[in-house]
């Protein structure tokens, strides 16, 4: 199936869970990254339960300070 991650369309295995995608994408400090699925924010504890579907759109929103912080 195909999903869109950070604006890029990519093929992933069927039944991929959101948590697995986050690992696969090598998201740094994932517990401090806001994740949206189809324009809705997903609670951190729900990431493991959510099974992605064909056509889903996932965005990662990172904390950004002023150059002094990651």
């Amino acid at each position: 199936m195909f999903i869109t991650v950070s604006g890029e369309k990519k093929e992933v295995k069927d039944g991929l869970r959101l948590e697995e995608l986050i690992e696969q994408e090598n998201v740094q400090t994932p517990q401090y990254v806001t994740v949206s699925l189809n324009d809705e924010f997903i609670e951190t504890q729900d990431r493991d339960k959510i099974v992605l579907k064909d056509g889903d759109t996932v965005e990662f929103l990172y904390f950004m300070g002023g150059g002094a912080w990651l």
């Binding site: 400090t29 401090y32 965005e59 990172y62 300070g65 002023g66 150059g67």
Partner: protein, 269 residues
């Protein structure tokens, strides 16, 4: 108040724009904007807003100019090292345009003074470098129903969004709460490309001018991200507040401001 001849010439490129015109220029001259942080972001914001003729501009920062600031904080020069940043920025702004009044606040912004400070201004620009102050600005602006521009920069990345009371999600809707102390690598490991401050600060100035003049579409409900490595901009849609936000939700759990604990930065950036 009519524009005088010098103002008509100075602001002619604004006046020519049908979206701004003389009417919009007068709005700018009557506007009051507060910039919190006179560093990487605050410098370009201050310079562009002064050049644009924003009549009253407040600048708040407790820091002094350091040699390592000069790589990106373009309103400060080598001769300003050791000088309060608010003073250095004010001098640069007034050198561009003596038409504007620059109020300086050489102090730390905290829960005891922020609400009274922002109350006097129409629009707030977050040019701070730490999450404690970013969350404080957000929470205070929600409480005082003040619009503000959030921005952050890191390495080759930048982001910004605009909060307008009642119109879209706030910073806390997106980022909930500060990351804990030891979760974050130290300043020494980070770094930022100097021009990133210029790109993102200029975009904050753009949002400010658009807000004051009522021009176009603001970044409400959207996070604009910029990737300098690939030279790409993206807008990420932000869902509206789900009503559960701790500050702008229906039953806010934050009812008064407090100072967040934030680890001190070991390396002065």
């Amino acid at each position: 108040m009519a524009l005088n001849d010098e103002q008509i010439e100075r602001y002619s490129r604004h006046i020519l724009l049908k979206e701004i015109g003389a009417k919009g220029q007068k709005k700018l001259l009557n506007a009051k904007v507060l910039i919190i942080g006179a560093g990487g972001l605050g410098c370009p914001v201050g310079l562009y807003l002064a050049a644009a003729g924003v009549g009253t501009i407040g600048v708040a920062d407790a820091d002094t100019v350091d040699l390592s600031n000069l790589q990106r904080q373009i309103a400060h020069s080598t001769a300003d090292i050791g000088k309060p940043k608010v003073q250095s920025l004010k001098e640069s702004m007034e050198a561009i345009n003596s038409d504007v009044t620059v109020n300086t606040y050489e102090k730390f912004i905290d829960s005891s003074n922020i609400r009274a400070l922002i109350r006097d201004y129409d629009f707030i620009v977050d040019g701070t470098d730490n999450f404690a102050t970013k969350f404080l600005i957000n929470d205070a602006c929600v409480m005082e129903k003040k619009p503000f521009s959030h921005a952050g920069i890191l390495r080759f990345q930048g982001q910004l969004m605009t909060y307008i009371p009642g119109q879209g999600p706030c910073y806390r809707c997106v980022f909930k709460d500060m990351p804990p102390k030891d979760a974050i690598p130290t300043c020494r490991q980070a770094g930022v490309i100097g021009a990133m401050a210029g790109v993102i600060g200029s975009l904050q100035a753009m949002e400010t001018v658009k807000f004051i003049t009522g021009t176009g579409k603001l970044l409400v409900g959207e996070l604009l991200t910029y990737d300098g490595i690939n030279q790409s901009f993206r807008k990420i849609k932000l869902p509206p507040c789900d009503g559960k936000c701790a500050i702008c939700g229906e039953h806010p759990s934050i009812t008064e401001l407090k100072d967040y604990e934030q680890p001190a930065c070991e390396l002065k950036l």
